[in-house]
């Protein structure tokens, strides 16, 4: 029996005393609401105002919305954006699921190494990915020229919507992969064995049993990736801008930059529109995941999942995965490494003519840049840890309790991702400036930790919630009848069983927090610099070498943390 059905409220039941669980649940919900709404409210308010928040005497109206919808640019970009986001979501999720199943559950040789390499794109900022792909796959890119010279055919055009979707998919696929593989790792083999005895081969089992059971993480990652696709800025800006393909994000960014004064009203209205779209998506997602009892696989009878034997397909699939890794991870990463140690990079001249350590030296010669590295590590460690725990709490309250406002939490948990990073940053900036008690932490790294943590709440939620859905409700029931209250049950049973998902969440958060820059723009101050923004500053000045060097540092740091964490916790993320 699903927990939801048993949480039927009885109007006449008086709750006699304030129980600990109510305190915790209301506390968590209240805090979540504050954190999520803090950046959203100023933005919402400014969407109705005819002038920026800092100017007094403004009037409230819907004129910003009118302007947004009547802007000729707006209509042009909506089609582009939807096409891009849809294509990206389809490709990412497909790739992510396939990889999760193959690398996580099938006997592909070298699974652990391959699984590690699949994650490489997510260690890089989208800005860096775009620029690494330009190095390799742009019309003057190394690989493009190689193909042109050897095969005498114009291979592809990176500067098209499908081209950009491929880049974005490669960048975002690790999210779907990580979400799905922690689910795949806890499948109950009895369910699959049942299919085997009925005569199903491995492929059939995968399609009819394993995949449908992965519906929660598939849906979560699809919604999250689609949302990111709607608001990602760097890929459209670098790849689409020059050829005139504009997306919603770059459209907004240009309206922000290009007016006489930044158009807060328009940007606010656009943020609200995005919010509504994502709300609809989440409603849809919830509808599809409604009866989560269908996805329960971790029951009181615990067993180990077994590995699918692929037979003849084994080496073919291995080769395919290797090819994908070569094109999507290794080559761009190679481009990045090259650029990090060269003054310039051009296919017209051999790279070793320009070898230099200068890019690295520049970074370490200025205290502000060194600080940005240490700050980012701190923020990513603390932010990742705290956010993971907090989101675990949110998940427990949203999906495993009888809290009255559970459903609201589902929405609150994804809203932070609906707003482009810059807008989140502006929102938090306003929150810190207007709410005086928060004043002292503004301009410190704690403000950034808070803003980043909130921005990536949905990422953590998507890593943890589906896993929660797979733990049978009878484990909760058994604990309750044995005498444990809601909090003890959550703590001693559910949180422990969630460990693989908590670890995935921490890793994902660390990776995202260390490279974040969009929401940092308005919050950074001397002393609280972060790597993502430093990279952007270098980039704007035309210094691509230090950008590559810094990005390489980021990747190395992240890999070290991921590896160390895995060894310490003995929890595998993917298999």
């Amino acid at each position: 029996m699903a927990v939801k059905e048993r949480a039927h409220r009885l109007a006449s039941v008086r709750l006699p005393e304030i129980r600990k669980e109510h305190l915790i649940q209301y506390g968590v919900a209240g805090l979540t609401a504050c954190l999520v709404l803090a950046p959203m409210l100023p933005v919402l308010y400014s969407s109705f105002r005819d002038r920026p928040l800092y100017d007094s005497g403004g009037t409230l109206s819907l004129s910003n919305y009118a302007r947004l919808f009547s802007d000729p640019g707006f209509h042009k970009v909506i089609g582009n954006t939807l096409a891009f986001a849809t294509l990206t979501t389809l490709i990412s999720v497909l790739l992510g699921v396939v990889m999760a199943v193959l690398v996580g559950r099938a006997d592909i040789p070298g699974r652990s190494v391959l699984g590690e390499m699949l994650l490489w794109p997510i260690y890089l900022s989208p800005l860096v990915i775009a620029f690494a792909w330009v190095i390799m796959y742009s019309p003057a890119g190394y690989v493009t020229l190689f193909v042109k010279q050897s095969l005498h055919v114009q291979p592809w055009n990176l500067y098209t919507i499908p081209g950009m979707a491929v880049v974005a998919s490669v960048a975002l696929m690790p999210i779907a992969y990580l979400y799905c593989s922690s689910s795949a790792a806890v499948a109950d083999p009895a369910l699959e064995d049942a299919a085997r005895t009925a005569g199903a081969g491995p492929l059939r089992i995968m399609l009819s049993v394993t995949l449908p059971l992965m519906r929660p993480p598939i849906l979560y990652s699809a919604v999250l990736i689609f949302t990111i696709g709607l608001e990602v800025l760097s890929i459209p800006m670098i790849l689409g801008g020059p050829v005139g393909i504009d997306f919603f994000s770059s459209f907004l960014y240009n309206r922000w930059l290009g007016g006489a004064r930044p158009d807060y009203g328009l940007v606010g209205a656009a943020a609200v529109v995005l919010l509504l779209i994502v709300t609809v998506l989440v409603l849809f997602q919830n509808r599809l995941l409604r009866d989560t009892a269908r996805f329960v696989t971790v029951r009181g009878k615990a067993t180990r999942p077994h590995i699918f034997k692929l037979g003849r397909l084994r080496w073919i699939l291995f080769a395919c995965i290797c090819l994908y890794l070569l094109l999507a991870a290794i080559l761009p990463m190679a481009g990045l490494v090259m650029r990090a140690f060269t003054k310039f990079l051009t296919p017209l001249v051999p790279p070793w003519r320009f070898l230099t350590m200068n890019n690295m030296i520049v970074i370490f010669s200025y205290p502000a840049y060194v600080r940005s590295i240490t700050n980012s590590i701190l923020i990513a460690l603390i932010g990742g840890f705290v956010t993971t725990l907090f989101v675990a709490l949110i998940s427990l309250v949203a999906h495993r309790s009888e809290f009255r406002f559970r459903k609201v939490l589902d929405f609150l948990a994804i809203y932070p991702r609906t707003m482009p990073g810059m807008i989140v940053g502006i929102g938090f900036f306003w929150a810190f400036v207007m709410v005086k008690p928060l004043g002292p932490i503004r301009n410190t790294i704690w403000a950034l930790t808070l803003a980043f943590g909130v921005r990536y709440l949905p990422t953590a939620f998507g890593a943890i919630s589906p896993m929660l859905a797979r733990i049978g409700a009878e484990l909760d029931d058994a604990a309750r009848t044995a005498g444990a209250d809601w909090w003890t049950t959550s703590r001693a049973i559910l949180l422990v069983l969630l460990k693989p998902a908590l670890y995935s969440s921490f890793v994902l958060l660390f990776i995202q927090l260390i490279k974040e820059y969009g929401s940092a723009v308005f919050l950074v101050a001397p002393g609280s610099e972060v790597m993502g923004l430093t990279m952007l500053q270098f980039w704007v000045q035309g210094e691509a070498g230090p950008v590559a060097a810094l990005s390489l540092l980021q990747v190395v740091i992240t890999m070290v943390i991921v590896y160390a964490g895995r060894k310490l916790f003995k929890v595998k993320v993917y298999a």
Binding site: R6, V13, G300, A484, V496
Partner: protein, 374 residues
């Protein structure tokens, strides 16, 4: 050991009434089974007693404590009810070994380590799993997991024991052994227990009393013998064991506590003992257990003793080890009968003993048990 009182309990899920104002009492130390087909509301009732479900109306009281009372709005949370519960899927916590699964409730009750160890050893002894203390659930067989689940339910000496179809996942042989073992433990401990199952054999073997449920109501409560021999409704007669059903009409009441029933499907009448009274001509349903039907070879022209004898022809028979089960055609209807030896002739006499029938008023529109199915 306290008694469990349930009064006027009801619960609906949306438009579906799962539990429809039922009341029953489980006496001190008694083993009561809630028996019925799936969807009859038995599990909902059990969960309501455990506190895992919020009923709509009713009263649930265990001993002196009121767990739930809709008239005052009182509701005690499950963790405070001190019930022991065994789940259908055992619900052993996979990240804890056997010892830790058992220790969990004791830790919650702040039992000292020494006392905990003693108690766990005692329980493991009881369920015969002393050597498995350090094993994890996935390292145990189904039967062993089930015993751990029972042990965990008992380790903290609960006031009552609730069992939700705990044997349904075991194979037949194991289930039989588990049944008798479970019964032994329960009577040894003398703990008031409610058992939920759809398996009527289980119910008959284990229970002190059975409450047969259907579509949210209780059809009959009684000892296994009562329920078997004197079903209160055609449904009960059909659900417990097997029954033959004959439709007929009230032909008349006799002086000696018998009535005459004109059978619809056979041109005959039978006389049966009953304390019930019916209006003349009222449509009736007579049920008779196959093992009570006597069959005699018609080819031998022996004199038949007094009784309800009908002409019949053997349709088929199957051997089930303990006896032969035959289907016999009686005019336009079919009866099932059990015989020790195989019937060799086709034409037989069938006797309906007058003291082994249950008779019910038949609802002409609705057919709760119907004609004897093939």
């Amino acid at each position: 050991m306290p008694e469990i009182v349930v009064k006027d309990l009801s619960k609906r899920f949306g438009n579906v009434v799962a539990v429809n104002h039922i009341s029953f009492t489980v006496r001190d130390g008694e083993f009561l089974t809630l028996l019925g087909p799936s969807g009859c509301g038995k599990t909902t009732t059990l969960f309501a007693i455990a506190g895992l479900d919020h009923p709509d109306t009713g009263l649930i009281r265990v001993g002196e404590s009121t767990f739930f009372d809709s008239s005052t709005g009182q509701f005690v949370v499950p963790e405070k009810r001190n019930c022991g519960m065994v789940f259908q899927s055992y619900a052993l916590w996979p990240h804890m070994n056997v010892y830790e699964n058992l220790a969990f409730p004791l830790r919650l009750r702040k039992v000292s380590k020494k006392a905990r160890d003693e108690r766990i050893a005692e329980i493991l002894n009881l369920v015969e799993l002393e050597l498995y203390k350090d094993r994890y659930p996935h390292q145990l067989s189904g039967g062993q997991q089930q015993r751990v689940a029972l042990g965990r339910a008992l380790v903290y000496s609960p006031t009552v024991l609730l069992l939700d179809e705990p044997l349904s996942n075991l194979d037949a042989k194991l289930r039989e052994r588990a049944r008798s073992w479970l019964k032994r433990i329960q009577s040894r401990l003398g703990i008031t227990s409610i058992y939920v199952t759809h398996d009527q054999t289980e119910a008959l073997v284990l229970s002190d009393r059975i409450a047969v449920m259907r579509e949210g109501r209780i059809c009959q409560v009684g000892s296994p013998q009562d329920i078997y021999a004197s079903p209160a409704e055609p449904f009960v007669a059909d659900f417990i064991g097997t029954s033959n059903f004959l439709r007929g009409h009230m032909a008349g009441a006799g002086e000696d506590g018998t009535i005459l029933v004109d059978l619809d499907a056979a041109k005959a009448s039978i006389r049966i003992n009953t304390t019930k009274s019916f209006a003349q001509g009222a449509p009736l349903l007579v049920s008779i257990r196959p093992e009570k039907v006597r069959v005699v070879d018609r080819s031998r022209d022996a004199a038949l003793p007094a009784g309800n004898w009908l002409e019949a022809e053997v349709v088929d028979g199957i051997y089930v080890g303990a006896c032969y089960r035959h289907r016999l055609r009686v005019d336009r209807t079919t009866l099932r009968a059990e015989t020790e030896a195989e019937l060799t002739t086709k034409r037989v006499w069938v006797s309906i003993p007058d003291d082994a029938c249950a008779v019910f008023e038949a609802d002409p529109a609705q057919d709760s048990a119907g004609e004897t199915p093939i």
